[in-house]
């Protein structure tokens, strides 16, 4: 064989090994998590672990219900806040923004995604939380808080601005750029003649966007949102700063609570025994949820293109 062919073969094996190592790492992490989770899973049983709200160090009784619901709730709210803003941003970037400014605005949105999450956490804790507590919380308390039956959920009971609402908003700010850029790319894929067909029937620009462009891109938007959801699920630092990591029943949107990531970030250092194993079980749940979100998101994105 010639030298070039040897080099080629070497190169191929090298890249193959590199990609194999990625798979090995993922598998390794999964096995480790599972292994370390076993004591807790054996002791409590999967079902009891998932549906118990206890988190009691003294009695060594641990259940995942609060961190799980905390993660689900903050992620859901974050998506709820982020999606309209992101789609609006994408509409602006692709349809309304003057051509000269598109590049600059697009880059600005992408920069937002590049800010390290610990900075979002600090900003959330020192700037955003006090601001929300002073202005938004009282407002919501005085409006939604007066509703019968569900009103209590919108009233502030503890001071500090560190709570589910703040955490969800900080998460929303963090995932907005990603959904916005996926949506923008999807809008750019809409054939010009499709938009022109709608305009040609007498639709306004807004009607075209709402009735043709968004439905045409909905899969990609959904895929982007699900991938963003995966990020929100696993976001640690920002949430750890502003959620409060409180193991108590959630009685208000403006109460501190716990998420999987806040529990892990706060308790991992000092945990041992069953608590440590329970933390590993939480991590395993997060790993699986993340995996699923990424898989579903990519699948939706691919179908579109």
């Amino acid at each position: 064989m010639s030298k070039a062919r040897y080099l080629n073969l070497g190169f191929k094996s090298l890249t193959f090994l590199a990609s194999l190592s990625v798979l090995a790492i993922i598998a390794g992490i999964f096995v480790c998590l599972l292994w370390e989770s076993l004591p807790a899973l054996r002791h409590f049983g999967i079902f009891k672990f998932l549906f118990t709200a206890d988190w009691n160090y003294a009695q060594e009784s641990f259940g995942a219900l609060r961190p799980l619901t905390g993660t689900a709730l903050t992620t859901f709210l974050a998506l709820l806040f982020a999606a309209p803003v992101a789609v609006g941003t994408a509409i602006f970037l692709t349809e309304l923004c003057p051509h000269r400014l598109r590049g600059a605005f697009g880059t600005a949105v992408e920069l937002l995604a590049a800010i390290p999450s610990v900075i979002y956490g600090m900003w959330g804790l020192f700037v955003f939380a006090p601001f929300l507590e002073a202005s938004v919380q009282p407002l919501i308390g005085k409006t939604l808080g007066l509703l019968p039956l569900i009103g209590f959920f919108f009233q502030s009971k503890l001071a500090g601005g560190v709570n589910v609402f703040t955490a969800s908003l900080v998460l929303a700010v963090m995932i907005t750029p990603f959904i916005a850029s996926v949506t923008r790319d999807a809008f750019n894929q809409v054939p010009a003649t499709l938009k022109e067909s709608a305009r040609g029937l007498g639709a306004t620009q807004w009607e075209t966007i709402r009735q043709v462009q968004i439905p045409y891109s909905r899969q990609a938007i959904g895929g982007g949102a699900i991938i963003a959801m995966g990020r929100a699920l696993g976001e640690t630092m920002a949430v750890a700063y502003v959620i409060g990591n409180r193991h108590a029943p959630l009685d208000s949107l403006f109460a501190p609570y716990a998420t999987i990531t806040s529990v892990l970030a706060n308790e991992f250092n000092e945990a041992a025994g069953l608590q440590l194993s329970s933390l590993f079980t939480l991590a395993l749940a997060l790993f699986l949820a993340n995996f699923l979100a990424l898989y579903l998101g990519k699948k939706l994105l691919k179908k579109e293109l």
């Binding site: 054939p191 003649t193 022109e196 067909s197 305009r199 029937l201 009735q211 439905p215």
Partner: protein
Amino acid sequence: MDLLEVKNLDFYYGSQKALADVTLNIRRNAITSLIGPSGCGKTTLLRCFNRMHDLYPGNRYAGEIRLQGRNILSKNEDLINLRSSVGMVFQKPTPFPMSVFDNIAYGPRLKGQRNLSFLREKVEKALRQAALWEEVKDRLKENAGGLSGGQQQRLSIARTLAVDPEVILFDESTSALDPISSQKIEDLMTELKKDVTIVAVTHNMQQAARVSDYTALMYLGSLVEYDETEIIFTRPQKKMTEEYVLGRFG
């Protein structure tokens, strides 16, 4: 009076002049073909008729286009109204991401029509006119993207018909279709001219000769010759026309 009267029309994409001093009258209830080599301005002219160029910045018209006597290039022309009386069908089908029924009902609904039995009638009529009813009458609720290419193109035509246009513009609307679908659309055009006026861009000389009543040859943004199709194809005035239709040029 002819339906569309184009007088000394110039058109600019920014600073680039794409149409120069085009003057022609489009006859009512007839099919007029626009032919000419690639880049000569056929699409550009077609898109002046519904002011589609206004969707993009920097485009400019000069001259006049009269639709039933009214200058549609005037500043206060109502474009939404204009575009529903001048429909357009593109080269590739453009089904909206919704059901067959909703596609056809899209235009009437934009105008505020909510009455379901009226919409049903309208949809059926448009689909019949577009020779698509028999094929889709049991699939009205299905997504339009599931139809075949040729069906989707007739759907685009039916969707345009549902807003009762005066004119329908076809921009190479059969060139992406198989011969049978393409033939169906040709037949359809001949059928439709009872009700509407048709302006069609085509690169297919046989098609222009077969279906159109009038033919206009364009070259480098100008009109070279415009006459009855039979004359253009058998005894044109200009040498260039003769060479073009014989395929010796362009």
